[in-house]
């Protein structure tokens, strides 16, 4: 941890010269490092650049106002955990309410008192530091689990493979095959849990490269459980995206596998790849078969959710596949949705051409 991280960095967004000086001087005297911005947009960019430990926002911030600045900060995953303190006049009860609803943790009323200001900012800083320590411990634990569980699993897989090459009777071969299948299932569970923990702690880092989406989909189909069932519609011209091939592969393999498992047996699975006008692409995976009941659709991408049909099907699943797929698509700046009606279920994956780097213009304009 650097010295600046130890001291804590506070971003103060306040248009008023006298007020911002008072806040800055007070917090500096308390041992904190302070950066001042006088306008909402400047504050937003400072927050992105500096990743402060606490943001203090005056309700009177001009341009994009304080409420929209709070919304904008809360709208960025990487800034969402930064505590925000709003400041307003005593009469602005409605404004304070709005700031708190938008995601500010605390509010102060003017005239400010140095001791109260310090106490409230330092409380939030202390809580943030404790959360960071917990988060680091959690990451360490997850790394240990992911790493240490894979070792014995890998040893079992190699030993069973070696055993399967030796002269064996059919009953023994069948038993060892079952041990191997169970071991691979265990490996998948560990892998899924690792992905979930990476997604939830925002540690999924995509290794993007320029790829031909149609080619990637064709590769996935070749490795699907029953490629002959899949009908692929893809444009003649390649669609190039800046994306992580390993993660997209994982998403589409999951969708194809679900379509094969839960769709009508033997019915075709139709995959349609299209370019969008904005330079991105959509991929639809459609299968005929029992519809997903409307009451289950909203929860379909939830963690550990399994439909009643899936639970009674005897098909193994932890209910993490679609949750991970959604996380991976969103990490690409895209969206995944499902429609199920008239004996057909369609999953639609929308992928942008490039990562979303733009300002959330709606909330700041």
């Amino acid at each position: 941890m650097t010295e600046a991280e130890d001291r804590g960095v506070v971003l103060v967004v306040d248009p008023d010269q006298a007020s911002s000086c008072f806040i800055a001087e007070t917090l500096v005297r308390a041992g904190l490092e302070v950066v001042v911005a006088h306008e909402g947009r400047e504050g937003y960019w400072d927050a992105l650049r500096l990743r402060p430990d606490v943001v203090v926002v005056a309700a009177a911030t001009p341009g994009p106002n304080s409420a929209s600045l709070v919304q904008a900060l809360r709208g960025r995953d990487e800034l969402a955990a930064i505590p925000i303190v709003g400041i307003s006049t005593a009469a602005d009860g409605a404004v304070r309410g709005q700031l708190l609803r938008d995601g500010a943790q605390d509010c102060l009323t003017e005239p400010l008192h140095a001791e109260e200001l310090c106490a409230r900012v330092c409380n939030l800083l202390g809580r943030k530091r404790a959360e960071e320590r917990l988060e680091r411990l959690r990451h360490q634990l997850e790394d240990v689990v992911a790493h240490d569980l894979q070792q014995p699993i890998n040893a079992i897989v190699l030993r069973t493979d070696l055993l399967l090459r030796s002269p064996l009777g059919e009953p023994e071969r069948a038993q060892i095959g079952k041990i191997r299948a169970s071991t691979m299932r265990l490996a998948d569970m560990v892998s899924e849990l690792t992905d979930v923990s990476l997604l939830e702690s925002h540690r999924i880092h995509l290794i993007r490269q320029r790829l031909d989406l149609g080619r990637l989909i064709r590769d996935v189909i070749e490795r699907a459980s029953d490629p002959s069932r899949v009908v692929l519609h893809t444009p003649e011209h390649p669609i190039y995206l800046d994306a992580d091939p390993v993660r997209l592969d994982q998403v589409f393999l999951n969708l194809l596998s679900n379509a094969a498992k839960y769709g009508e047996r033997g019915a075709p699975i139709v995959v349609t790849v299209e370019a969008t006008a904005s330079g991105g692409a959509t991929v639809e995976v459609a299968n005929r078969g029992p519809e997903i009941p409307p009451d289950e659709l909203p929860s379909l991408f939830d963690r550990f959710f399994r439909t009643r049909a899936a639970r009674s099907s005897g098909v193994y699943g932890a209910g993490l596949g679609l949750y991970i797929a959604k996380g991976m698509v969103q990490a690409h700046g895209g969206e995944i949705s499902v429609h199920s009606a008239h004996g057909e279920t369609r999953f639609l994956v929308e992928l942008p051409i490039a990562p979303e780097l733009a300002l959330p213009a709606r909330s700041l304009s």
């Binding site: 790394d143 992911a146 070792q151 890998n154 897989v157 190699l158 493979d161 070696l162 992905d195 290794i207």
Partner: protein, 133 residues
């Protein structure tokens, strides 16, 4: 399959080290086993040259990647298989920086994956060492 090939295998997990080594010995390779990063570096210097190095990433004393980067820096062009159960984004990047003749194998891998990776690298580097049936 690997008759005459000398392979250095490094992993701090004794079971996995034994499994990978047994599999390779079964295929005809001469295997030297290292149980941490320090042994990996020592054996590379003292017991080489090797046709192939297979190493885990996280190991005590020195990570497999640190050891391999040092080896590359010292001019050693031996092919490498990096095994890992971790999914950190920096691992593929670091592996890529090791240059040519490097394969990243995600744990858990099966016998066919291990053999295919090893065969591709050993065959390319020491064609004479591969005894294809």
């Amino acid at each position: 399959m690997f008759l005459g090939a000398r392979i250095l295998v490094a992993d701090d997990d004794p079971e996995l080290l034994a499994s990978v080594s047994d599999v390779l010995e079964h295929a005809g390779a001469h295997v030297v086993r290292a149980s941490n990063g320090a042994e990996l570096v020592t054996y590379m210097g003292e017991q080489g040259p090797f046709s192939l190095v297979i190493t885990d990433v996280s190991m005590p004393w020195m990570s497999g990647l640190q050891a391999m980067h040092s080896a590359r820096y010292a001019g050693l062009a031996t092919p490498i298989i990096v095994m890992t159960g971790l999914k950190h984004e920096w691992i593929p990047e670091q592996v890529k920086r090791l240059g040519h003749d490097v394969v990243l194998l995600h744990k858990p891998f099966d016998l066919a994956q291990l053999e295919a990776s090893a065969e591709a690298l050993v065959g390319r580097f020491f064609p004479g060492h591969v005894d294809t049936p």
